[in-house]
Every structure is written in C-alpha cells, then in structure tokens.
C-alpha cells in the first residue's frame, strides 16, 4: 500500500462563514447536540469557524472567517507523544492523526499539548433527543463521556471508500469516494482535500501556491492543513499572537 499523506487546503478568501462545514461535520461524525449548560468552551466542534478581524475599527475594519479543525500535524504531532497510553496515533498509511476514544482515559494532556485547541473533551454523556439516535451515521461510533475526540478527516468515509473499492474489485480507493464531510458541504469549495504526496492533487498544488500558509509554522508541528489568502494581513493569522496593543496591518 502506498503511503498517503492526506491534507487539506482552505481558502480563507472564499470562506463565507456559512457554517455548513460545521454542521456537516457534526452530522457525519455523530456529535451529540448540546446538553444543558454547554458553552463555546465546553462544546464539541471538530470543525469550527472563527471570525477573525484585523483589530481595527470603523471603515478600516476587515474580517474573515477561519475554519479551524485538527491541523493533522506531521509524524511527531504534539498530541501523539504526550498520550500516556497510545490513544493518539499518526496513521502510517494516511498520515491522519487518529484519536482512539476506546483507549483514551480522558487525562486531557493532549488537549493541553495542542496549540490549535482542536481537541475536544466529552464533558457530558452523549445524549440525543428521543428518536434522533436513528439518524446516527453507522460508519462512526459514538463516543462516550470522558474522552477526547477531534477531527480525523471523516475516517468513517475512508472505511466506506475502501469497502467500495473492494466491491468494485479494486485495490486502491477512488479519490472521489473519500472526501470529508466538510469538504463536501462547503458551498464555495473553499475547502479542498487530497493526498499531499500526490503532486497532481489540487491540495498539493495549493500548498505550493503563493499566499499559502500554515498556522504557527515556526512551532515545527508540520500541519497538513494549508490556508490561503491573497491578503497580507490575513496571512498574519498564522503567526503567534501579538500583544493587545498591536494590531494587524
């Protein structure tokens, strides 16, 4: 099996902040509805769109939306080495940083380790309104309370794509069969997905494009999510936070 390195490119200039990716993600991955008392600090949003502005007011004010998800760091992702019981793993076959809810004991060390805050803890027992559990996606197991979860590039779809390949009698999956839900849902095609090891894939090309950047690149985490913007101030988002008195240009 050839080693894949799945990645994503997100064009911030195209993102309208409609939230379709968030909804599609939550539907696909059986994320339960909010329990009483949930806030934006305790919720589970594998995919989450942040409004980001240039820090100015009045007519100079500019805002964009930045979809945030697990940045799928490279081989030595910050969350992998810290997990005490091997519940986090970079899949050698796909490069996907996988989180195993069944192995996780909920120490949340990986959450502390993640600079992107892309990991979420199940603070509550998962609960669906009566009947709604029928709408759960059978390709993804619901998680239990007390474990950490995060984006895994819709791994259930990877499984389904593999089965479809077997059904066709093929060894390799059809790239069109494996597209994460957020990519599929994005109305402006701002999010693209593909194999970074394949130079022909649009994502690999987008990664090389000028104006493409990754978040906190200097940390050396080698994320596989590439952002893109033609605007200089937007590209500053990828840098470390500046003190409050400083603003983006």
């Amino acid at each position: 099996m050839t080693g894949k390195r799945y990645g994503m490119s997100i064009d911030i200039d195209r993102c309208t902040g409609c939230g379709a990716c968030m909804v599609a993600c939550a539907v696909e991955n059986n994320v339960p509805p909010a329990p009483e008392g949930a806030t934006d600090r305790k919720g589970i949003t594998w995919m989450r769109v942040f409004p980001v502005d240039n820090g100015r007011d009045g007519p100079d004010r500019k805002s964009v939306f930045v979809p945030m998800l697990c940045q799928q760091c490279g081989q030595d992702a910050p969350c992998v080495s810290v997990c005490p019981q091997q519940a986090v793993q970079v899949d050698p076959a796909t490069g996907i940083v996988g989180q195993m809810p069944e192995r996780c004991l909920g120490c949340r060390y990986c959450m502390a380790a993640c600079p992107y805050h892309a990991r979420y803890f199940n603070w509550w027992d998962p609960a669906w309104p009566a009947g709604m559990e029928k709408t759960l996606n059978p390709n993804v197991a619901p998680r239990m309370r007390g474990v950490v979860e995060k984006c895994n590039f819709c791994h259930g779809r990877w499984h389904a794509a593999k089965e479809r390949a077997v059904g066709r009698g093929a060894r390799e999956i059809d790239p069109a069969d494996y597209v994460p839900a957020c990519v599929e849902a994005c109305p402006t095609a701002a999010i693209r997905f593909g194999d970074l090891n394949d130079p022909r894939s649009p994502v690999a090309q987008a990664a090389q494009q000028s104006g493409s950047f990754r978040l906190l690149e200097k940390l050396g985490t080698e994320p596989k999510i590439y952002y893109h913007s033609a605007r200089e101030w937007v590209r500053e988002i990828g840098r470390a936070p500046a003190g409050k008195e400083q603003v983006h240009g």
């Binding site: 005490p84 192995r103 949340r108």
Partner: protein, 427 residues
Amino acid sequence: MDRQLIARGVRRCSTPQFLLWILPWAALFAFGLYCAGLCLVKGLNQTNMDNRFAFGLWIFVDLTIIALGAGAFFTGFLLYILKLKDLDAVINSAVVIGFVCYSGAVAALLVDVGQPLRAWFTFWYPNVHSMLTEVTFCITCYLAVLLIEYLPIVLRNRKLREVPGFLVFEFELHKLIYVLAGVGTFLSFFHQGSLGGLFGVLRGHPFAFREGLAVWPSTFFLFILSAAAVGPSFILFTTWLISKLSGKRLVRPQVLQLLGRISGLLLGVYVLAKTVDTLIWINRTSPGAGFPAQEYFAWQPFGTWILFAEIVVFGLAPALILLTPRLRLRTNWLVSAAVLACLGVALNRFVMTLQTLALPTLSFDRYLSYWPSWQETGTFLAVVAFGVLVYSFSFRYLLLFPQEREFRQEPAAQVSETAVMDPVGRS
C-alpha cells in the same frame, strides 16, 4: 477511652477534644467526597474546566502537593542514604506527609480523568515517550513504597505491636528501610522531574516549552530541584504548625534549623538554575518558536511581576534567609522563609499549569480565565481534609516525633535532686 492506642510517654488531648477537632474536617471530607462523587457519576461537566483549560485546580494542586510531599523522599534520602541522623526526629512525620500528599494527589487524579475505569491502560499500553506515563508509573510505585514505609509506623502503634507477627515484621522491615528509601529517591527523582517535563515538552505552548538534556526538558531538573528544596521547608513548616496547634514541643530546634539550611541551600541552587533557564528561554527558546517572550506578559493580570515574584520574592528571599545562620536561629524568620519557599513552589506550579493554558497560542485566540466550580473546590478540599484527618490520626495514635517523649521528661531534670535525695528515713 483510646488511651491504649496512644503511644507511651506522650500526651494527647482528651478523646472528646480530639473528636471536636476531627468533626469539622470529617464533615469537610464528606462534603468533598460528595463533590467528587458528583464528578464521577455525572461527569466532568461538574467542573469549570473546559476545552482550553483542560487542566484546572486539580492538576495545579496535584503538582503542588507532590512537590511539597517531596519532603518524604528527600528526608529519607538524607537520613538513610546520607546518614544525617538528626533527621530521625522528623522522618516519621515526613513519611506520613508524603503519604498524605501522594495518596491525595492520586485520588484527585482519579477524579480528574474522564474514564477512571480505564486508568490501568497506562500500565498495560504505556507510551514511554509520554511524561505522563513516567509520572503515572513513578507516582503509583512511589505511593506503594510510601505505603510500605508508612506500615512500620502504623505497626509500632502501642496496641498493634502487641501482635507478635506485626512486631517482628515491623522490626525486620525497618532494618531494610534504607532499600525503600533508595527506591523512593529514585522514583521521586523521576516523577518530580517528569511532572516538570509534563509542561516542558509542550512544543505547542512555547510559554512552557524548554530545551533540555536528551529527552528531558530543563523543567524536569528544575522541578526536581525545587521539590527537593521545598520538601524540607514543608516538613519544617508542618512540624512547627503541629507544634503550635498541639501546644507541644516536638523536635529540637536544631532539627528545624538543619531542615532550613538544607532547604535554603537547594533553594539557592534552584534560583540560580531557574534564572539561567529563564534567560535562555526568553532569548532563545521562545523566539525560536516564533513567540516573542515579552508578549506573554502583556496579558493582564499575568505581568512580569509574576516572574519577579517567582524568582525573587519566593525564591531568592527565602533562600537568603535560610542561608543566614543568624536569621535561621529565629523561629519566626525560619518559618516565614519556609512558608515563602512553599508558596514559591505553588506559584511556580500555577504558572506552569494554568498560566500556560490561559495564554493564547493562535493569533485569534482569546485570553481566557478560569475559576473552579464548587464541585471542583469541594473535591480539592476533600484532599486537604483527607490529609488533615490522616495526619491527625497518625499524630494521635502513632509516634511521629520520637523526640517528643524526651521533652516530656526533660523539665524534671532541672528539679533539684535534694527533693529526691533527702529521704525522711535518713534525717
């Protein structure tokens, strides 16, 4: 009514008085157990921790009390390995404090994890590259060692040692205690270090990240040093406090001064190392990761004052006091310096855990604050109450300070001999 259980030669308050003291703590403990039960049954939504503050009060407290509990291993090390015989006077108390701190920390950790039923996975499927694995292994092993070290103290209880098996076992075990002290030192050394490493390895948080030796970041060594430095200080402080609370002389002043001197010495070394480390971090490590260090202190209330307090007020100052023989002779100075040192280590642990999480890493992060919920605080108080209870019972029924008995008889030595020596029969 419990006279038979109290060690010979020491005086303890009456049973009702003792119960009166125990009662509020027991109530607090019960309340804390209820809080912990809520967290276990209903889940961690009972806490105010959240996805950003993945660690909260509990981890901070765990780190702090484990550092304070370092007195157990360090005193054992000094007494049994380096043969500082004077510390015999406090070793029992140190072991009990260590036991209390570690068992409290482990209990809090079991509430803190989301799936305690799977806690054993860490042993079964360890990821040896994780500092937390090292911490888990060492802390559980060391807790077992502490339990074994605590056992002889318990078995020496007046009633229990009447059982011949207990007596003989205690006697034989005590002969081998230096082995356990050695193992304890080894384990403590590593887990104190890996508790520091826990945050030092967080590449994603340049505020906490440090370079280091081999797999260990510098915080690994700083934590060992600081724990070793404040361990004796905490023993000093608790001994003084218990002496005040019980109104009894427990150890000779020289013992406390010795503890103070050791603490001061190590604290001095720690402050030096910490300063060097901070300079390297500000000038090389942090900018290397793209984070100018001064930005960390632009988020109020975490200004540079916190760095100053950590190094100077709670580090250098107590170190100097403890290293000055004249000041060391004065109990007030000695104890205040010990308290400062303990607060310093608490502040350091706070900075490493909570400030690390509060500071933003992404440019569009908000700076967040966190305040523990009552369930969280209650669980923490249960740990405190548990400690007080275990210590109170130990102090009452076990002989924690062997010198205490001598003081009971000492005043008699000053009585003029004539009263005894001039029997009526002769005159």
